[in-house]
Every structure is written in C-alpha cells, then in structure tokens.
Amino acid sequence: MNAVKFLFAAYIATWVIHGVYLGSLVRRFSHLRQQLKDLGKK
C-alpha cells in the first residue's frame, strides 16, 4: 500500500510537467500575438 503513493506521485508528476510546458506554450503564443497586434497598429 505504501508503494502505491510512488505510483500516484509518478503519474501526477508526469501531468504536472506536461501541464507546465503546455502553459508555457500558451503564454508564449499570447505574448507573440500581442506583439504582432502592436506592430500592426503602428
């Protein structure tokens, strides 16, 4: 039973890493779109 916590920790860690990376992609996308919009306005 005690070992099962390692199993859940591994699965959660996997999705946390993917989540953080996907979050960084979304943030970079929105930042670039904003830059492009600002350039279009000038």
Binding site: N2, A3, F6, A10, Y11, I17, L22, L32, Q35, L39
Partner: protein, 300 residues
C-alpha cells in the same frame, strides 16, 4: 488544418484517458513489485517518445548542416542509402547476427536500419529551407520534456523497488542524465545566443548529442547495471496483457507528442514572423529618420 487540430486533440484526450484506465485498472498486477510497477506505463513510453524526438532532431540537424553545400547534400543522400542497404543485408549474415546482444532480434535491427533513410528523405521532402531548423528546435524541446518525465518517474519507481532513489555510477541512469543535459544546453544555446552561426552550432551540438542515444539504449547490454532489460527487442520478458497496455500507452503518448510538436512548430513560425516584422519596422524607421535629416547631413 484549423479544424483538424481540435479534432485530433479530442481524439488524443480520449486515447490518453483510455490508456490511463488500461494502465491503472485493466493491466494485471505484477507478482513481485505489486501495483507500483504500473509506473512502467508512463516511464517507458516517455523514454521511447524522447528517443524518437531526439532521432528526428538528429536527422533534421544533419540535413540542415549538409544543405549548406550542394556537394555534401548529394554525398549525404548516398551515404544514407548505403547505410540502409548495407545495414539490412548485414543483419541477415549469420556472423553479424552472432554479434548482436542476447535477445535482440535481427528483424528489429533491420527495421530500425530501414527507418533511417525513410525518415531522412521524408523530413527532407516535408521540411524545406528554414522549416528544417524549426523542426530541429521543436523536436529537441518536446524531447527534453519527455526526457524530464523519464528522469522524474525513474527515481519514483526505483525508491520502492531498489530501495534507493538513484544508483550513482549506473551507466543507464548517468547516460540518460547526460543526454538530458546535452539537449538542455542545446536549448540554452538557441535561446540566448544571438550569433549568426547559432543555428549551425546548435545543429552540430545536436549531432554529437544524438550519439548518446545509442549509448543510453545499449548500455544495459554491454555494462553491468541495475536497470532491467528492455521489454521489446531485448532480453526482458513481459506478460502479453501488460505489453498490450504498454503499447496503448505509447500510442497515446505519441499522439500527444505529435500535437505538442505541432503547436511548438506553429509557435516558432509565429516567433520568426514577429522577428521579421520587428526587423522591417526598424528598417523603415531608420529610413524615415534618414530622410528627415537636414539636407546638409544626409551625405554623412
């Protein structure tokens, strides 16, 4: 294309959910390790996906380097064809078959060797010009994410099974860590270097980095290590029901990796578009300021 992405995303989420259900509920419990062995369903597919992405990065980097000169491009094509042909023929020679590590099937080696020219020519055809460099950076970045998962889930599995988080000096573990460090330095180089040669230097680093992938994979055959034998194409064995679940999880991770790479590729295209727009703006700005100078100073 805009409709395809959300459809594929929904299908991938369904596949990932199904793979998770198979891994946690359907797959039988291991007689020795108990339920903790189920980490294999995330650890191994992540490793295979990372290796595949580093291989794509390697091929894209080689093609980027050889395209600098027409003669090297032609020579590289013939070398790749020769590797494919000689490699396949060699795996059918009994003397070569005896040299293969125990448990490694010649058919698996032949298939891998055939894939080298196939991937090389497909990448060359689908990613012309600068897109080759974009593919290289995309595959390296997503590969690092998957390799990070391998390095995190590995110790979480080792602690309850081996009694230690990390086996210092173990060649499999150390070479995987070195692989991760090489690709992190590749990404750091690309992120912070502003030299005109950055793409070339990064491509050269990627070629050397990829040499570590076979070392990681084959280390368990040639060195004493605590890491178990591979479950496919190696000396390890696995219950067919477990293998089925493992392959489902790998499929799910491959689909997910494909979508992430697609997004990262689009991000890089947008990034270069913004950079070009900034360059154009500064050129126009410089031109405007030059024309606004007094006539007497224009010659300066």
């Amino acid at each position: 294309m805009k409709r395809l992405f959300p459809i594929l995303s929904i299908l991938t989420v369904i596949l990932l959910a199904y793979a998770l259900y198979e891994a946690l509920v359907v797959a039988p419990t291991d007689a020795l390790q108990g339920d903790v062995y189920r980490i294999i369903y995330y650890h191994v597919p992540s490793a295979w996906t990372a290796f595949l992405l580093f291989f794509i990065n390697f091929v894209a980097s080689i093609e980027y380097l050889v395209r600098a000169k027409r003669s090297t491009e032609v020579a590289a094509k013939w070398i790749v064809i020769a590797i494919g042909v000689i490699g396949v023929i060699a795996t059918f020679i009994p003397a070569v078959q005896h040299m293969l590590p125990t448990g490694m099937r010649p058919s698996a080696v032949a298939t891998t060797v055939v894939l080298i020219p196939v991937v090389y020519f497909l990448i060359g055809r689908w990613f012309p010009g600068d897109r080759l460099d974009i593919l290289a950076v995309t595959s390296a970045e997503v590969g690092v994410v998957f390799c990070t998962i391998v390095l995190v889930t590995g110790p979480l599995w080792a602690r309850p099974v081996w009694g230690i988080w990390w086996a210092p000096g173990d060649i499999r573990l150390t070479s995987t860590l070195v692989l991760w460090l090489i690709y992190v330095s590749y990404l750091v180089l690309r992120r912070f270097s502003s030299s005109a040669q950055t793409q070339m230097l990064a491509a050269a680093l990627a070629v050397f980095g990829a040499l570590d992938v076979p070392l990681v994979y084959f280390s368990i055959w040639f060195f004493r290590t605590q890491h178990p034998q591979p479950v496919i194409g190696g000396g390890g064995s696995m219950d067919p029901r477990m293998l089925h679940v493992l392959l489902i999880n790998w499929m799910a991770f491959l689909c997910f990796a494909f979508l992430v790479c697609w997004s990262r590729f689009r991000l890089e295209l947008l990034h270069r578009e913004v950079e070009q727009a900034h360059a154009m703006e500064s050129l126009v700005g410089a031109g405007a300021s030059k024309t606004s100078l007094p006539l007497s100073r224009r010659s300066e």
